[in-house]
Amino acid sequence: MATPSPIPAGISKEQAFSMAQTEMEYRVELFNKLAQTCFRKCVDNRYKEAELNMGDNSCIDRCVSKYWQVNGMVGQLLSVGKPPM
């Protein structure tokens, strides 16, 4: 996970708070989407047993790492500037 960026000087408390709130909302949304996507992809919905099988575990590992990588790449591209599509 990326370390939280230090608040630059000269920003009021309300602005810092709203920045933190936006960041938190973004993180929560990211986690929810990630969990939902990987659950839908990896877990077979016949639900024979309550625990994750080994195949499910390795599928979830791969899914999360791919999702995270793509998320990082897209975030970087968006922060640099809109690329010509």
């Binding site: 077979d44 024979k48 994750l52 099988n53 080994m54 195949g55 499910d56 390795s58």
Partner: protein, 170 residues
Amino acid sequence: MAAADSSAEPAAGSSGTNESVTKIEPIRMPTVEEMRAQEVWNNCAVKSVASGVMGGGLGLMMGLFMGALENPIMHDTMTGRQQFIFTAKQMGQRSWGSCKAFAVMGLVYSAAECIVEKARAKHDIVNTAIAGCVTGGAMSARGGPKAACIGCAGFATFSVLIEKFFDRHT
């Protein structure tokens, strides 16, 4: 939220049932020990060694049982005590051989299934079929390629049937 049965107004969720309202447990996140235990048991080596040990135990029991069944009773050549020692030695040999065979079988099957499932990242019946084929082929590889093929097919079918039998509630 959970209303007792003797309350005047009926509870919203249990209007149809006569028994007391079942408590709904909140979703519990796994503790650190549970996660560590899961990591340990996810390891292919640990799993296959444990399966090998269990297979060895099973083989020991079966070998003892089978060895006790067939004992040549020679009343005239040996005394009772000698007969007992002879029978015990034969049972021990038999059960040790059976223990080794079953331990190898359990180890190979568990290792193959673990590796295949990790590689495919899916929990299927195909994993058990492939693992059974590998085990059967490895066990009967001494008889040549044809025997290996037959052993592979036979053991794969056997393990698929056993898995379906133990997995009735779909």
